[in-house]
């Protein structure tokens, strides 16, 4: 068995090395990985004073000799690694654990051997891989969130804003990108114990480790932030567990607001038996607004009488009631079923897809839609939730009956000669009976309460029925129905009532 040594410091170097090892078929047990630069950092160097690492890593004589040549074996094809896994490996490589390179090689080796569940968090290595990725992402997130810039005086030149941070993993490069996109042409610097980056407004510069003083400045902006932080806190809801759960304790020491937290907590606790914010509010002179209630009420769209209808429960779930629309003395009245999703928002009948189809029917029948009064049997949209959408639900007889009140008013005021019932619900409503079917009434005009009633499909049926043939037939039925309604306008009305 040949032992192989590899020294890598970056993911790119590891990737090269791992590829070569895989091609030569060298199992993880035979590889010893070292990370010259990082080992030094972890071993020596005080993170808090920011003292530079002991010596130039690659020249250190204690580092093992360069890797021995891999044994002569038939070469395997370079592995194909899916992008999702490669991204995880790359993220995990930022995790500061001593055996990171060895671990990553074991993962990729197992994948190469066909053990694809190595990528699943249900696998032991997979679980660790996921945990490492998570730790790195968390660190990136924390750094995005908890870096605090302080402003330097303008005359001091760039960088205008400086921040100090102590990252636990190697995420500075990606975090710097985040701030590049955020800050535009404003110059800034982030200092950490291991490395620092400077953005001059156009280019990123990597510089060496810095000490914290670099970012310890007076900044008057910070006082405003503390004021804000103190003021948005609601002492009546004191719940420090959640606060600590979200900002881990090691982060607090570099957050300016941390200094005022203990005082805020103790004040809240002391005043807890009173209403939390009473004291703060009571300290200042207050003002009530001298205005009469009637004047405070602004003009706005008042609900119509129809909107105030509570004859059934449907109003609760609808935006508004949708009444009829059309000439006040129209000869033909269309009665649909109920407003749909679009109609409910717009407050007008037949403005959605069904309305568009109705327009086409009118056109095909040669009837001017503007001469027709259009309304619905039920005035509020009835629906049930389907995911995030509203799914039309057919109204029940009780609801149809409750809404007669409004349809009767419309019939009485418009006095149409012909009522066209669009679909079964409309038919039941117009004839005031549940014992009637659409099929039996199609194309057969009836006399009812001194009016002609023509039955045809609801336009939604035409839109919904499967098959081009059936669609066309249904459309034609509607056109015929409308033509019939139009003809009936001129027919003598002596026929006995149905």
């Amino acid at each position: 068995m040949m032992a192989v040594r590899r020294a890598v410091d970056t993911f790119a170097e590891w990737r090269e090395a791992a590829r070569e090892l895989l091609v030569h078929g060298i199992p993880p047990e035979q590889v010893t990985w070292s990370a010259p630069h990082m080992d030094d950092l972890l071993a020596g160097g005080d993170l808090f004073t920011g003292a530079p690492p002991a010596a130039e890593a690659s020249d250190n004589p204690s580092i093992p000799p360069p890797p021995t040549e891999p044994p002569d074996e038939p070469l395997r094809p370079a592995p194909h690694i899916p992008r999702s896994l490669m991204e995880m490996l790359q993220a995990a490589a930022c995790c500061r654990v001593p055996d990171r390179w060895a671990f990553l090689y074991r993962v990729i080796w197992r994948w190469q051997q066909g053990e694809h569940d190595v990528q699943s968090p249900a696998d032991e290595d997979g679980a660790r891989l996921h945990a490492m990725v998570k730790a790195v992402h968390r660190e990136e997130h924390d750094m995005h969130a908890y870096i605090r810039f302080r402003e330097r005086p303008e005359e001091a030149g760039p960088p205008r804003f400086v921040a100090w941070y102590e990252p636990r993993h190697d995420v500075l490069p990606q975090v710097a990108e985040h701030f590049v996109s955020r800050m535009g042409k404003v110059s800034w610097m982030i200092a950490t114990p291991e490395a620092s980056v400077l953005w001059d407004g156009h280019t990123l510069h990597n510089t060496g480790p810095l000490v914290r003083d670099a970012a310890d400045l007076e900044d008057t902006g910070e006082a405003l932030w503390l004021t804000y932080y103190r003021s948005v806190f609601n002492p009546a809801r004191l719940n420090t567990d959640v606060m600590h759960q979200h900002i881990p304790s090691h982060r607090w020491k570099n957050l300016p607001e941390a200094k005022i937290v203990p005082q805020m907590v103790s004040e809240a606790a002391l005043g807890a038996r009173k209403v939390g914010q009473y004291e703060a509010v009571g300290q200042r002179k207050g003002t009530t607004i001298p205005i009469a209630p009637d004047d405070a009420q602004p003009e706005r769209q008042q609900p119509s009488k129809l909107d105030e209808c509570r004859r059934c429960e449907l109003w609760q779930f609808a935006t508004q009631a949708v009444g009829g629309e059309g000439p006040k003395r129209a000869k033909i009245m269309f009665v649909g079923e109920q407003p749909g999703d679009q109609e409910d928002l717009a407050g007008q009948p037949f403005v959605g897809p069904a309305g568009k189809l109705l327009d086409r029917v009118c056109e095909a029948a040669g009837v001017d839609r503007d001469t027709i009064y259009v309304t619905n049997a039920v005035k509020h949209f009835k629906w049930e939730p389907r995911g995030k959408r509203r799914l039309h639900k057919t109204p029940v007889q009780r609801e149809i009956e409750a809404c007669h009140y409004w349809l009767d008013k419309e019939l009485a005021s418009v006095k149409p000669t012909v009522v066209v019932a669009l679909g079964a619900t409309a038919l039941k409503s117009v004839l005031r009976t549940a014992n009637v079917t659409l099929k039996d009434s199609l194309g057969k005009p009836l006399r009812h309460e001194g009016r002609w009633v023509v039955t045809t499909y609801h336009p939604s049926y035409v839109l919904r029925v499967p098959g081009e043939e059936a669609k066309r037939a249904a459309f034609n039925t509607m056109v015929e129905g409308l033509k019939l309604a139009h003809d009936l306008l001129h027919r003598p009305t002596e026929t006995p009532d149905a």
Partner: protein, 409 residues
């Protein structure tokens, strides 16, 4: 009045508002551009206050002068509170300065109603316009819209803001009439409807001008009226379905100084708010309906989470064989979330699921044990009564511990 004093008053007034999200905005950045700001769609919480709420936006009122008399609001016209008003410039500068220091992701601007709804709305829009146009600010902007305002102003607000919100405040029309006499559910729904209509229009015509790309949200106050959780969840469901809301925020009522007698003098348990958020998440993410979660009148149980409550009430679905069930059903098992359900389905393509997998996936084993079957596990409690299971699985009674500091005082 100094800026600091105004900030104290006008941030104080915003602390009753639960929403602070800055997610859902389209990706923007300021690389090589004048101005400032980026959004990556995710939103970042930049700090947490000791009440456990996050700070992701500069959340302030433009003014807390208000001609309305909403009983639950500290700034109602009859309330004797210190009043202040920011100038448009001051809000713009504060947002800018806070953003540069990485305290915030953007601005959440709301306002008391002064002079008229239209006047107030114009001021709010003006702040957003100045930030976007004069200062090329690309951070997040959330505007609270005044429902009575001219729809043209709301349309303009949507041009500049990432998110718009119209607060419904209370779950029923009766409560609104009683506690917020100047507001009306009718107008609120119409305003939400007009925003949704604009959002639809934008979806249908992608080249139309930008309109509130992060959608709309609303807020409901819990515990200021007698509405139960069932009513609240049904209202939330109605709002989600009707107006494509991104979020409904629930805010436990905080008793306020010199509180009118029409509102309670004690807050509801914060845990109730928490349970509502959990239930809300089940509505949005898991395909539950309000009726399933709350078949009868009343409040959500405080001792168990709503998903466990549903599972205990619907034992016929369980135990569920994780090697056969579909993803949406797996996600309904207590202790298994959406992501774990997906991971189990992925894993199932490779091999059969075993008990150990659940442990590695960091599921809540105690919670799911009575409800699942795996290749090597069948629950022993299969026949145990739901009452017994509930006693075993409930959180230890600990509501009082929600405020350990209060206990200590």
């Amino acid at each position: 009045m100094e800026l600091k004093d105004k900030l104290e008053i006008l941030a104080d007034a915003a602390k009753y508002d639960a929403s602070c999200a800055s997610s859902g905005a389209p990706k923007r950045d300021s690389v090589d551009k004048d101005g400032l700001g980026a959004t990556n769609g995710m939103g970042i919480c930049h700090s947490y206050t000791p009440d456990g709420r996050c700070v992701s936006l500069l959340k302030i009122l433009l003014t807390n002068f208000c001609v309305y008399d909403c009983q639950y609001c500290v700034n109602r016209r009859t309330s004797n509170v210190p009043r202040a008003r920011f100038s448009v410039d001051e809000v713009v500068k504060l947002t800018h300065d806070f953003y540069l220091r990485n305290y915030i992701d953007g601005l959440f601007l709301s306002s008391g109603i002064i002079q008229s709804s239209d006047y107030t709305m114009e001021q709010l829009v003006d702040v957003a316009r100045r930030l976007r146009e004069d200062h090329q600010f690309r951070g997040y902007i959330h505007l609270k819209t005044i429902p009575d305002a001219d729809p043209r102003l709301i349309e303009l607000a949507g041009r500049y803001a990432d998110r718009l919100s119209v607060n419904i405040e209370l779950p029923t029309q009766d409560s609104v009439t009683k506690l917020a006499p100047e507001k009306s559910v009718h107008t609120i729904k119409l305003a939400m409807g007009s925003i949704r209509a604009r959002l639809d229009e934008k979806d249908d015509h992608p080249k139309a001008p930008v309109f509130a790309p992060a959608g709309q949200s609303t807020q409901m106050i819990v515990g200021a009226d007698a509405s139960d959780d069932r009513t609240i969840l049904h209202t939330a469901q109605t709002l989600y379905g009707s107006y494509k809301l991104k979020r409904v925020y629930y805010s436990a009522f905080s008793p306020i100084p010199q509180s009118p007698s029409s509102v309670p003098s004690a807050p509801p348990p914060l845990l109730r708010e928490h349970r509502l958020y959990q239930a809300d998440f089940l509505l949005r993410g898991y395909g539950f309906t309000a009726k399933e979660l709350m078949p009868a009148a009343g409040n959500l149980a405080l001792d168990i989470d709503p998903k466990l409550g549903w599972a205990l009430a619907n034992r016929a679905h369980f135990p569920l064989d994780l090697n056969r069930a579909d993803e949406s059903m797996i996600a309904r098992v207590p202790g298994i979330g959406l992501r774990t359900a997906k991971r189990l389905i992925d894993l199932r393509r490779l091999r059969r699921i075993r008990w150990e997998d659940l442990s590695r996936l960091r599921c809540s084993l105690k919670k799911l044990a009575p409800f699942v079957i795996t290749a090597d596990y069948k629950p022993a409690q299969g026949a145990a009564s739901s009452d017994l299971l509930r006693r075993n699985l409930a959180d230890a009674p600990r509501q009082m511990n929600l405020w350990p500091e209060l206990q200590a005082a």
